[in-house]
């Protein structure tokens, strides 16, 4: 194959394009911090998950320790079943509890995990019993109105 002086320029162009891709992947999408080992998965049932979505963060004391893998509906207990993948580096006691929390006033919802006191740790396939549902604004308001009405009656 004959060499030509455009070789070097085309090579530079392809290199530049490749560099741009690497830059986007590393600097803007953070490829390095992607967790390639899957971690261990546990399940939990919630009465109401509110606006929780797959890929939402699982945080403990504000630190991301895992992700929500998938969410489905259990038609035996009529609850939402959430599959979590927790980072292998972190172990939590078996009686840890989960809460659905909101990041700021209008932010994304995430799961907060609070450590319990059990000496045994959660293992892959375990399910977490103590859960607290998402706060639904409508329920809060109706509760508030109901309490108001009850107050009014008791004063009469």
């Amino acid at each position: 194959m004959q060499r030509s002086k455009t070789d070097i320029w085309v090579g530079l162009f392809v290199l530049l394009g490749g560099l741009a891709l690497v830059f986007l992947a590393l600097q803007s999408a953070n490829l390095l911090s992607l967790n390639f080992d899957k971690g261990y998965s546990v399940t939990a049932k919630f009465d109401n998950i509110g606006g929780l979505k797959p890929q939402a963060a699982v945080r403990s004391s504000g630190v991301v320790v895992g992700r929500v893998e998938s969410i489905d509906f259990d038609d035996k207990s009529f609850q939402a079943r959430v599959h979590l993948s927790l980072d292998k580096r972190y172990a939590f006691p078996k009686d840890s509890s989960l809460k659905i929390l909101t990041n700021g006033l209008l932010g994304e919802q995430y799961i907060g995990i609070e450590a319990g006191a059990d000496s045994a740790n959660l293992a892959a396939g375990d399910s977490i019993g103590t859960t607290q549902s998402a706060v639904v604004l409508e329920n809060l308001i109706s509760q508030f109105l109901y309490n108001k009405a009850a107050d009014g009656k008791s004063k009469e």
């Binding site: 455009t6 162009f13 530049l16 891709l21 986007l24 803007s28 999408a29 953070n30």
Partner: protein, 261 residues
């Protein structure tokens, strides 16, 4: 008075449109099948990547910087009302990688390289060079059209990546250096919100599809051009109009398919 509405004329127009469509489909499959022979002659391919990639680099990079600048200013203006100015980086990166990078690159590429493809093929046809090649038992589709087609398909994703990367840097200059957003928040918000496969991967896929569409339309218009100066001029115009509309339409369809959740 309304002689152009005579049934025979309408019939002729419909038949011509159908024949063009059939020819277009045949040409497209022929170009797709020509990948193997094109790769076996890398010299031709390299020349086209050089012509369409390297020479488009300047306009792509400069446009990317300015789009990044403007997005930095506008997003900051909108977001600081809600005290969310830190998300400027995330929004810039998402909109560039998902939409603006592939779409604007395709539109600029149409104007910069698509037109020259159409004009080149159209003039070759007008000068009967393509017929002359056929006489010499050289397939003009394989020798002339295929390297140009695959050259653009290769160049487009690379150009789109350059556009997005340069745009993010432009947004960083305006957001962090001029408007005083915290540099750490700018990058960390971006890294928290942009997914390698879902956002970046789909963006690259988009620009690949645009590469196929733009170069195919440009080559087809050149090939169908009437062999007169006016015919070539019209074909070039049609390339810009059709390719731009196709890119925008395809972008909507692809966005709906990729990011529907």
């Amino acid at each position: 008075m309304i002689s152009f509405l005579r049934p025979s004329n309408i019939g002729l127009a419909v038949r011509q449109a159908l024949a063009d469509m059939g020819f277009a489909a045949r040409l497209f499959f022929k170009l797709l099948l020509s990948l193997g022979p094109t790769l076996r002659r890398p010299g031709l391919l390299r020349e086209q990547v050089h012509f369409m990639g390297n020479y488009s680099l300047a306009i792509i990079a400069v446009s990317g910087v300015f789009v990044g600048f403007v997005m930095g200013l506008q997003y900051y203006y909108g977001l600081q009302r809600f005290g969310a100015a830190d998300s400027v980086g995330l929004l810039i990166s998402l909109s560039l990688v998902r939409e603006f990078g592939p779409v604007l690159t395709a539109l600029l590429f149409t104007g910069r390289a698509g037109t020259s493809l159409t004009a080149e093929i159209g003039l070759m046809k007008a000068g009967e060079q393509l017929s002359a090649m056929e006489m010499m038992a050289v397939d003009p589709i394989q020798r002339i059209l295929a390297p140009r087609f695959w050259g653009s398909v290769i160049a487009m994703p690379l150009l789109a990546a350059v556009f997005s990367a340069v745009g993010v840097l432009g947004g960083w200059v305006v957001g962090v250096k001029m408007l005083g957003i915290d540099s750490g928040a700018f990058w960390s918000q971006m890294q928290g919100g942009v997914d390698v496969v879902r956002d970046l991967g789909n963006g690259i896929l988009k620009s690949l599809v645009f590469g196929f569409a733009v170069s195919f339309i440009a080559l087809l218009q050149g090939y169908l051009a009437l062999p007169t100066p006016e015919g070539v001029a019209r074909a070039t115009t049609r390339t810009v109009v059709m390719a731009s509309l196709t890119v925008l339409g395809l972008d909507f369809v692809l966005t709906a398919l990729m990011f529907s959740i």
